[in-house]
């Protein structure tokens, strides 16, 4: 109990930030028309590619060969997520734009 309180206290900033972000995520999306569901899903997919930053950090401090291989892999996969995500979203939305 006490240690949980302690933990909450120490991380109150981060916790509150998370709560705000959750609210914001909900608010921002809640009026999206059905037609944009797929591109939006794809765009969101690209955004969580931000995990690549973690991959870069890990790789940037990797010292053994094994760690380097794994780190290299992580960066490649993260990049795939980011680049593929944004490009595919753009392609989808381009189709919609073509309309006019």
């Amino acid at each position: 109990m006490e240690s949980i309180l302690q933990f909450l206290l120490e991380n109150k900033g981060a916790i509150f930030m998370v709560i705000l972000s959750i609210f914001l995520g909900i608010e921002v999306i809640s009026h999206v028309p059905a037609i944009l569901h797929t591109p939006l899903m794809s765009g969101a997919n690209a955004i969580h590619g931000v995990v690549i930053i973690g991959a870069i950090i890990v790789m940037g401090h990797a010292e053994t060969t094994g760690a380097m291989i794994l780190g290299f892999l992580a960066v490649v996969l993260g990049t795939l997520n980011v680049v593929g995500g944004f490009v595919v979203t753009d392609r989808m939305l381009e189709m919609f734009k073509k309309k006019k």
Binding site: I22, L24, I35, G43, A44, I47, N81, V83, K99
Partner: protein, 478 residues
């Protein structure tokens, strides 16, 4: 400026960049949810991402040490960029959902790898102080589990959508899944209650958890109907978001935290919205009740009447107003181009042709829009279902091409039907109805469609592409 302040300037720039990137993510997501700004929103988010990446490489420090292995990192980024770009540009428009799933899996895998690599390096001071049960370890383990599940699940979803993995539906599945989940929870608790000097002593358990999480991800997605995949992908998408956010906790990194949580929450809402558009609950999708239920009154169905291609050609050519309802079958047959040819021919003859687009026609939201856009059908010809319905009584011919559920009157008539309550295109209001499909096969919801037995309906059997080609030839010949 001395060393120390240079250092702090770098950190400041890095942190500010992360905040700006976070704001760009929020803005981007917001803009992505409005048709007019969507494309710009995607670009905003991409700019935020590039800023965050570049700033990390330049300014990140860990205990005073800057990022090393820069050559390898840039190499990896170049490799990832090339592969990602080429795949994203090459793939057929109709394969988009599996592609999104694939990229989503990559993100999940990256999150899992990060956790695996960080685990042995949990600072011994931290462990000495508060044991293994601290936020740091928890974030690593959660990132590992969620990332791995997302990766394995996404790969299965990808395989299903691409058609090389089928559905696996076993009664006991739910029970097995719950057991596996329990095992994972126990393992996590086990690790966090160990009394060790360094986390590396427990690395084996990390690999065990990884392996079990892979199994869980596979089994979680296996039983879900192939056509429910868009919903599942959206769900896995929000999982990866949460896994990324765990990294944000780990590195105390603003951009990862906001980006991850934002996607996690927006993804969850999107999943719910997608379910709602199909008039189903998320649980219903995951447990997969669909495809079987619904005791449609097949007995009293009656008989269907067919129409020949030449009669159909005449009927269409001498109409004033034609509405085409495209559905999944049009996509399967890849008949969008020939369909557009038909509508151009009819328009030349002075017939007004519109496409009625149902939001969940096909197998992903916006499927029909993407499909028809690919065939260069002008946007003005597409009408949403709410808009077209009041107009149908004045429509001479409504042509259903490979659609079924989205024109099924059971949604309005039969409270026992699984699709009851779903908004539909009220096809039976039109003066004449022509239905093109291969046979009397059922749609995604696997229920009978009384529209086909309506006295105003004529069936035109055959693969959509072939039938449309014949129709085009006949209309030309008229």
């Amino acid at each position: 400026m001395n060393e120390l302040s240079l250092f702090s300037v770098g950190i400041s720039i890095l942190e500010i960049t992360y905040i700006i990137a976070s704001v760009l993510f929020i803005l981007g997501l917001k803009m992505l949810s409005h048709p007019l700004t969507a494309r710009r929103g995607n670009i905003y988010a991409a700019i935020g991402m590039i800023m965050a990446i570049v700033a990390t490489i330049l300014f990140h420090q860990k205990e005073g040490k800057p990022i090393g292995n820069i050559g390898l990192i840039i190499g990896a980024i170049v490799v990832g960029t090339i592969i990602g770009w080429v795949i994203a540009k090459r793939v057929r428009m109709t394969a988009m959902p599996q592609l999104v799933s694939f990229f989503n899996g990559m993100g999940g895998a990256a999150a899992a790898l990060i956790s695996m690599m960080e685990f042995p390096h949990v600072s011994p001071e931290l462990i000495a102080e508060s044991g293994m049960s601290n936020g740091h370890v928890l974030a690593i383990l959660l990132g590992l589990v969620i990332g791995t599940v997302s990766w394995a699940g996404s790969m299965i979803a990808f395989g299903k959508l691409d058609g090389w993995i089928g559905d696996l539906r076993v009664k006991a599945m739910k029970f097995v899944n719950l057991t596996i989940l329990a095992v994972i929870v126990v393992l996590v608790a086990y690790i966090m209650t160990r009394d060790v000097q360094a986390a590396s002593e427990l690395t084996t358990f990390i690999y065990i958890i990884f392996a079990i999480a892979v199994v869980y991800g596979v089994l979680f997605v296996m039983p879900i109907g192939g056509a429910d995949m868009p919903v599942v992908i959206s769900l896995l998408n929000s999982f990866t978001g949460v896994a990324a956010a765990m990294g944000g906790f780990l590195y105390n990194n603003q951009a990862m935290l906001t980006g991850g949580i934002l996607v996690g929450s927006a993804g969850t809402i999107l999943t719910v919205l997608m379910c709602r558009a199909m008039n189903r609950s998320l649980l219903n999708v995951i447990v997969g009740v669909f495809g079987g239920g619904g005791k449609a009154n097949t007995e009293e169905a009656g008989t269907v009447k067919e129409i020949t291609v030449s009669d159909a050609a005449v009927l269409l050519s001498y109409s004033k107003k034609v509405v085409i309802v495209p559905g999944y079958g049009l996509a399967v047959a890849q008949a969008q181009h020939i369909c557009h040819e038909l509508d151009k021919l009819l328009e030349e003859k002075g017939v007004e042709v519109k496409y009625a687009i149902h939001p969940v026609a096909g197998r992903m939201p916006g499927h029909m829009n993407v499909l028809l856009a690919e065939a260069d059908v002008p946007y003005e010809q597409l009408v949403e279902s709410d808009e077209v319905n009041p107009d149908l009584p004045n429509t001479d011919v409504l042509v259903v091409i490979g659609a079924n559920d989205v024109v099924n009157p059971a949604a309005e008539d039969d409270p026992s039907s699984p699709i009851y309550g779903m908004p539909i295109i009220k096809a039976r209001d039109a003066r004449n109805i022509i239905v093109m499909k291969r046979g009397m096969g059922k749609g995604y919801a696997a229920i009978e469609n009384m529209l086909f037995f309506n006295s105003k309906t004529r069936m035109l059997f055959g693969d959509a592409k072939g039938t449309l080609q014949n129709l085009v030839n006949e209309v030309k010949a008229l």
